[in-house]
C-alpha cells in the first residue's frame, strides 16, 4: 500500500505503430477508475480548497471572503480543544492498542496447537464495523440496561449503579477499552507478519551467543521490525485522528462536549450549523495534518539502504 512501484510494461520489439495502437487500448481499461477518482475525489478535493475561501451557506449565494475562514479558525477555541482532545485520544489509544496487540502477536506468531483458533478469536471484533461495535458497547455501558454498572453493583464493588458515561474519565476510558477490543486483533496481525519475517537463524545465533530474551527482543526483533512497526503505528495514528463513529454513537460528544473530536467538530460545523465554507477550511487543516502524516509514513517505510 505504501510504496509505489511501476513495473516495466511489455516493451517488445514489434512494428512501432502496431505496438502503440495496442498499448493505447490500456487507457480504455483504466478510464472508468480515473473517472471515478476524478469525479468523486479530485473535483471534491479542489472544491474543498475553493469553498474554504468562501462564505458558503447551504441555501443562498456564496461569496468570496479570502482567508477569513482561516483567521476565524485561529480564534475558534472549541476547534483547538477538539484538536487537542483528538491528539490526546490518539496517543492514549495507540499506546493501549500496542500494549495489547504486541503480546498477542508474539503469542500467536509460531505455529503451535490451537494457535489458528486463538488468532481467529482475537481477530473477530476487527471485522465488526465501528458503528456496530459502538452500538454494542453503548448498550454494555448503559447504566440501567447495560452490563458493567449493574454487574459491578451486583458484585458489591460500587454502592450504587454508576453511570459510566456521565463524567469524562470513565467515559473516556470506556471508549479506549472499546477501541482496543475492536482494533487490537487487526494490529496484532500486522505485527505478526513483521515477527514472522525475522529469519529464525538470527534468533538462534543470538541464543548461542548467550543473549537473553530481552536482549534479543531489543537487538534483533525491534530493529528488524522497523517497517512493520511504523506501518502499524501510522495506521493506528491516522485512524485515531479521524475518529468519529464511537464518539458520536456512544457519547454524542459529551459529557459537556469534552469528547468532540476534530472530525466531529467539522461534521457539526458543516452538517449541523451548515457553515459549509468554514467546515471546508477546517477540513483543509485536517487534510494537511493527515498528508504530513502520510509523508512521514513514506519516509519511515522506505526500503533500508543497500537492501531491496
Amino acid at each position: 500500500m505504501a510504496s509505489i512501484t511501476t513495473t516495466s510494461a511489455p516493451a517488445r520489439a514489434r512494428t512501432r505503430t502496431g505496438v502503440s495502437r495496442r498499448q493505447w487500448v490500456g487507457l480504455l481499461y483504466v478510464l472508468p477508475a480515473v473517472a471515478f477518482v476524478t469525479v468523486f475525489f479530485v473535483i471534491p478535493l479542489g472544491m474543498t480548497a475553493w469553498m474554504s475561501l468562501n462564505n458558503w451557506p447551504l441555501m443562498g449565494e456564496h461569496s468570496f471572503i479570502g482567508l477569513d475562514n482561516y483567521v476565524a479558525i485561529l480564534r475558534d477555541t472549541r476547534f483547538w480543544n477538539a484538536l487537542r482532545f483528538t491528539f490526546y485520544y490518539t496517543v492514549i489509544v495507540t499506546i493501549a492498542i500496542f500494549a495489547v496487540a504486541f503480546p498477542l502477536a508474539i503469542f500467536i506468531e509460531k505455529p503451535r496447537p490451537l494457535t489458528n483458533l486463538y488468532r481467529t478469536a482475537f481477530f473477530m471484533p476487527a471485522v465488526v464495523g465501528f458503528a456496530s461495535a459502538s452500538l454494542l458497547w453503548s448498550w454494555l455501558l448503559n447504566v440501567d440496561s447495560g452490563l458493567f454498572s449493574p454487574a459491578a453493583y451486583d458484585l458489591g464493588l460500587t454502592e450504587k449503579k454508576v453511570n459510566l458515561l456521565a463524567t469524562f474519565q470513565p467515559a473516556f476510558w470506556s471508549i479506549i477499552a472499546m477501541v482496543v477490543w475492536k482494533v487490537a486483533g487487526f494490529t496484532m496481525i500486522i505485527l505478526m507478519t513483521g515477527l514472522q519475517s525475522i529469519p529464525q537463524d538470527l534468533q538462534e545465533a543470538a541464543v548461542i551467543d548467550g543473549a537473553g530474551p530481552f536482549a534479543r527482543f531489543r537487538a534483533i526483533t525491534l530493529p528488524l521490525m522497523r517497517r512493520t512497526l511504523a506501518l502499524a503505528l501510522i495506521l493506528s495514528v491516522a485512524g485515531s485522528i479521524l475518529a468519529f463513529d464511537q464518539f458520536y454513537i456512544i457519547l454524542r460528544g459529551g459529557p459537556r462536549n469534552q469528547t468532540l473530536t476534530a472530525v466531529y467538530w467539522i461534521f457539526n460545523q458543516s452538517f449541523v450549523s451548515f457553515k459549509l465554507g468554514y467546515g471546508a477550511a477546517l477540513s483543509m487543516v485536517l487534510l494537511v495534518i493527515l498528508v504530513a502524516l502520510s509523508l512521514i509514513q513514506l519516509w519511515l517505510l522506505r526500503k533500508p539502504e543497500g537492501l531491496d
Partner: protein, 285 residues
C-alpha cells in the same frame, strides 16, 4: 530425572499458554456472544441488565419483530445496506479488474501519473471532502440516492483494490498471454477467459474488503442519506439508539447490532485466508 523435569516444564508451559489463550479469547468474544444471546430474550427481560446473558424467562424472537416497527422498519434499512454493499462489490471489482489489467499490461501516456493519482487518494481523508461530495452528488442528480452512496464507496475502495489487482496481474507470466494471443484471443476474451481465472484470489480479496467497507461505513451514509427510507443499517440503528423513535428499546438495539455483525463474521470465517492475504499485501508492500 532431567527428562522428567523437562517433561514437566513442557506441560506447565503448555498449560500456561492455553489458559492465556482461552482467557484472552473469551475476553474478545464475550461482547459478541453476550449480545447475540441477549437478543433472544423477551422484550420485557431484554430491558433488564444482561445477567445472565441467556434468556431466563423463555426463548423469544420478539426483539427482531419489533425492529420492523421503527420508522420505515429495519427490513427497509437492511435492504438498503444489502443493495449498497452488493453494488459496491460488483462495481469496484469491475472497475479495479479493468484498471489493474490496464496498468499491468499496457504502456500508454500518463500511465504512471494515473496510477499514482489513484493510489495517492489513500493519503487524503475522505472525511475532509464530504461536503463537496454532497454538492457533486446533488449536481449529478444522485443526491440522497443509494446509487450516489455506492459511487462514493467504490471510489474509496479503488486505491487498495487497484493496487491489489495490478499486482495480481503482474504475477501472471507473460508466456500464458502470448500463447493465448497466438490462438487468436483478443483483449477482452484474454481478460475474461485466460487472465480472470488466474487472478481469482485477488478478486475475492477485494470483493471481501469492498463488502465489509460498504456494509460498515457510517459517516458518509449519515451525511449523504437524509431520507429515512434511504438509511443504511448503521444510520438506522443509531437513530433508534438515540431515542429518535421514543424510549430506547435496548432489546431492539441488540437485535439490530446482531443483524449488522453476523454477515461480517460469517464472511470473515468463510474467507479468512483471503482477508489475511489482503492485510499482508497492505502490510508487506
Amino acid at each position: 530425572m532431567a527428562e522428567a523435569m523437562s517433561q514437566n516444564r513442557k506441560a506447565a508451559f503448555s498449560l500456561a499458554r492455553h489458559s492465556t489463550g482461552i482467557i484472552a479469547s473469551v475476553l474478545f468474544l464475550a461482547p459478541i456472544v453476550w449480545t447475540v444471546l441477549s437478543t433472544f430474550k423477551p422484550a420485557q427481560e431484554a430491558r433488564q441488565p444482561p445477567l445472565p446473558p441467556w434468556p431466563t424467562t423463555g426463548f423469544s424472537i420478539e426483539n427482531y419483530e419489533t425492529l420492523n416497527s421503527f420508522g420505515d422498519g429495519l427490513w427497509v434499512s437492511a435492504q438498503n445496506s444489502i443493495y449498497v454493499s452488493v453494488m459496491t462489490v460488483l462495481l469496484s471489482v469491475l472497475v479495479s479488474v479493468l484498471a489493474g489489467y490496464g496498468f499491468s499490461r499496457f504502456r500508454f501516456p500518463f500511465r504512471d501519473f494515473f496510477f499514482i493519482l489513484i493510489l495517492s487518494t489513500i493519503m487524503i481523508p475522505f472525511q475532509s471532502i464530504l461536503t463537496p461530495i454532497f454538492l457533486v452528488l446533488t449536481k449529478l442528480g444522485l443526491h440522497n440516492t443509494l446509487t450516489g452512496l455506492v459511487c462514493v464507496y467504490v471510489t474509496l475502495q479503488l486505491p487498495f483494490s487497484i493496487f491489489m489487482m495490478r499486482n495480481a496481474f503482474d504475477a501472471v507470466p507473460r508466456e500464458i498471454e502470448e500463447a493465448a494471443r497466438m490462438d487468436g484471443a483478443n483483449n477482452v476474451t484474454m481478460l475474461v477467459k485466460v487472465m480472470l481465472p488466474l487472478v481469482w484470489p485477488g478478486v475475492v480479496t477485494i470483493a471481501l474488503f469492498a463488502f465489509l467497507g460498504a456494509w460498515n461505513e457510517f459517516l458518509a451514509a449519515l451525511v449523504l442519506m437524509t431520507d429515512q427510507s434511504k438509511f443504511t443499517l448503521p444510520v438506522m440503528m443509531t437513530a433508534l439508539q438515540s431515542g429518535r423513535f421514543g424510549a430506547i428499546d435496548w432489546g431492539a438495539v441488540q437485535a439490530g447490532v446482531t443483524v449488522m455483525m453476523v454477515p461480517c463474521l460469517i464472511l470473515f470465517l468463510a474467507l479468512q485466508r483471503f482477508y489475511i492475504r489482503g492485510l499482508m499485501a497492505g502490510a508487506v508492500k
